[in-house]
Symmetry: C2
DNA sequence: TTGTGCTGACTGAACGTTCAGTCACCAATG
DNA sequence: CATTGGTGACTGAACGTTCAGTCAGCACAA
């Protein structure tokens, strides 16, 4: 039911603490997160946390690092031969059409956590790094697409920034407003708009940029499904 | 130095409280915001706040409503004849290339505030409404563009969702990671990508979608400046 | 006098953090 | 083998602080 095997059967105390923190975050969100509530999520005592971590902040920072590591190792990377499909694969991974309750709660908590970076230097550093990792992944994909001649000669850095920003925006909005139903259409529009920029002018690519005009909500047509990854649901996929 | 005239010379106590809240938010952020610190920002006492507002939450909700009202009345609306320029105008308004310190702090605080909506129903309602307002504005612009024949027949609702999402993402990211330098390029790329989707195929519009490929950072060329609004800086422009 | 805007002192609860001490375990010593 | 000393994981009970919220009452206007 958890995020990883490590969470279901923690090997050591540190892993158990990470798992407990994850659960407490899901249950109570960041705003409602207390040391006591983390302790409540595992069989050891509250004081123990201070035996292993200097402070609440220290613990949370460790947790973020732990999650980032997990994320870095599970985001889709090598299983595509088509750059456009790879891009769609990543999008589908971090921006699933629907979120099961656990993952929805966790996404919300991560958004709260990231918001702390607005006034916390250490958090800010973390999310800067996390953001850069993701940016670079996408940049690489776009670069490949260009080298392979399937994309126009756009600026990969800029495209990557745009994509990362859109993803962050979607996570932020879906966590803080009632816009869940718009996510599938958003992703489709993002893909269509991107392709319109990346292919365009009949250069290459089979994408028909106007294909989803008529579908007001829901998935435009049957153009997805090709790139769905099998394990896209067992995982937090947060950044 | 404030946001509006009302802030520099509050007409009544309620306006003074709003102004004090604004200042306290800028100085301490949401995480550091206490009733005491709001009281410190104006000549009356802490208890007075409870005379006028039921609770801290009540006060903050009023503040959000106050800010939204202000925002609704200052976002660019009618001063463009070209839909594309109007779109750029809105983008430039909510996503300025640089943020003076006060506005940067305020933006951060607003992001923190919005993050609270992840686990607070009342906040969530507010930001849903706020988001919808903005979405509708953009949708209207796109609709006009289509009617005027300058845009292709895209889905205005979807385009609006995409734009709003990108803006939210940019605000979120610039507040929570060290990405300030990338904002101008991001906006340029967003504009270019949008235009590539909205015009395309040599249908209409003078936009050369590839114009800014070579400009790695900073503004791509001289294509902005036409649409800068004179008062784009005196205002929080938050949502 | 009655009411209104306002204040300073106060309260209760929540929470991060500390600390003295227990317990299981292990290695070295006699 | 039995004893001793030492170590690290772990605990329960506090401590100190911070804060939202309360309340009795003051000053002044009608």
């Amino acid at each position: 039911m958890g995020l990883t095997d490590a969470f279901d059967e923690p090997a050591d105390t540190q892993e158990a603490v990470m798992a407990a923190t994850y659960r407490a975050l899901c249950r109570h969100g960041y705003a409602g997160l207390t040391i006591q509530r983390i302790a409540d999520e595992f069989p050891k005592s509250k004081s123990l946390l201070y035996h292993h971590y200097e402070s609440k902040d220290d613990l949370l920072l460790e947790f973020l690092a732990f999650m980032l590591e997990h994320f870095e190792s599970t985001v889709p990377s090598r299983e595509y031969d088509d750059a456009a499909a790879h891009l769609r694969g990543i999008l589908g991974y971090v921006l699933p059409d629907t979120l099961d309750p656990e993952r929805r709660e966790f996404t919300r908590a991560m958004v709260e956590l990231q918001a702390q970076a607005a006034h916390d230097e250490a958090y800010r550093e973390h999310f800067t790094r996390s953001s850069r990792f993701f940016h670079d992944r996408i940049e690489t994909v776009v670069e490949c697409g260009i080298e392979e001649g399937v994309f126009r000669e756009v600026d990969p850095d800029r495209i990557a920034t745009l994509v990362v920003t859109a993803i962050d925006g979607a996570r932020f909005r879906r966590s803080t407003a009632e816009v869940e139903e718009t996510v599938p259409a958003l992703r489709a529009e993002l893909e269509a708009t991107l392709e319109s920029r990346l292919f365009a002018d009949g250069t290459a690519g089979s994408s028909d940029a106007s294909r989803d005009v008529e579908g007001v909500d829901g998935r435009p047509n049957g153009e997805r499904g090709v790139d769905e990854r099998p394990d896209a649901s067992d995982d937090g996929g947060e950044r």
